[in-house]
Amino acid sequence: MDDGGDISRLIGDLSADLKPVRRLPAPWLRALVWLGAVAIVAAVLVATRTLLPALGIIGNDPFMVPGAYASLATAVLAALAAFELSLPDRSDAWALLPLPALAVWIVLNGLGCLATLAIPGTQTSPFQFMVCLSLIFAISLPLTVAMVLMVRRARPLRPLRVAVLSGLAASAAAATLLVLIHPHDSAVLDLAAHAVAVAVIIGLNVLLGGRLLVPANKFRGRV
């Protein structure tokens, strides 16, 4: 056990190191800024859509558009939950916020998958599976980077949960944006591509979250 002298010295050092800081905006405002980045990516994708006609598939799936709304809702709620949970004094219950939308998204995808099973010619080829997967990763990347840069300013005390929510927000947003350039039926392989992409992005966030979300602190080594 250290004596009180160590604590006094630490207080002196921390006070000497004090610099004015800009308070973080409210979590909903930060979520809105991140959703602005999603909107920018969406605008870029729409602008380039005419360049990629080969990627489009005529959709026969009645659940595709409702599914896209559900994934958008999942992205919005997961982003809000991530920014709320990144603050120390917010309830753990924020982690539950995106779950209802996530459940609806999964159910709609499942229903779409069942509906398209009966329609000939709607099943995805392995090539389309890879295209789908690559597109989700490519769209997720800038969204994940933006999220990490924004969230780490709060130095979250619960980095794991924040990392999971950030990954869910980025991958759900990417799945929504995918519809803009790559309308697809909820074929089994398409669903698998989404599931793999979401799992990988969340997994990477979790693996790197501890390091990326909590910046180094020069005083940490003394404790």
Binding site: M1, D3, D6, I7, L10, S15, A26, P88, F219
Partner: protein, 206 residues
């Protein structure tokens, strides 16, 4: 906080402390060092109280306090002065205390706490002395085993098991006087044997 005050007085005192710390932390966010130092100093007893309630031992309290102070420093931009400072501090302290207790738990699972093994461990700087001490202990055990039954019984009940005379008397069924006499004779015999004066002073009766 007034010592022995009513719950209303305690509540009022805490609310006043919270108002003061909230204002000081807002000033610290603007770069006011004096206010910041005041906040950090006033945090210390609050953090100790919360950590103790969380189950932190006295040995751990200073670690928790330092960890919380460093966390406050890194996360000071996240404090919103429209919300109570104490709630913010409490959340940080509870999370840091849990982290430290978990770390200790993991360390405890890897390391064995065996003070006896530490004491019995061979002296690294003098292995010969340690070997001699082990030899003497073996020899003493052999001498005790060689004592007459009644003396061995007295040594075991009074010296090795450290019972009181009364408890030893109840356990062995012998009188206190008989036990004292037998222990005295046993010590005399052992002393004689260990100094090489074998056989003298041994009495076979109890």
């Amino acid at each position: 906080m007034p010592a022995g005050g009513t719950s209303d007085e305690v509540y009022a005192a805490r609310a006043e402390t919270d108002r003061r710390l909230t204002a000081a932390m807002a000033a610290a966010q603007g770069g006011d060092r004096a206010s910041y130092e005041l906040v950090l100093r006033e945090c210390v007893p609050i953090v100790q109280r919360i950590a103790r309630r969380q189950g932190a031992s006295t040995d751990t309290l200073d670690d928790v306090v330092q960890d919380v102070l460093v966390t406050i420093h890194g996360a000071r931009a996240t404090y919103d002065p429209s919300r109570p400072f104490t709630a913010w501090l409490t959340a940080i302290t509870q999370r840091r205390t849990i982290d430290i207790l978990r770390k200790q738990g993991r360390r405890g699972a890897r390391e064995v706490h065996a003070p006896l093994a530490f004491e019995m461990h061979a002296a690294a700087d003098n292995p010969e002395e340690d070997a001699a001490r082990v030899g003497e202990a073996k020899q003493l055990r052999a001498f005790v085993d060689g004592l007459p039954e009644v003396q061995r019984e007295a040594v075991r009940a009074l010296a090795l098991e450290e019972n009181s005379l009364e408890d030893a008397s109840k356990a062995t069924g012998r009188t206190k006087t008989a036990l004292k006499v037998n222990l005295h004779r046993a010590i005399k015999t052992l002393r004689a044997r260990m100094s090489g004066d074998n056989g003298r002073g041994i009495r076979r009766d109890g």
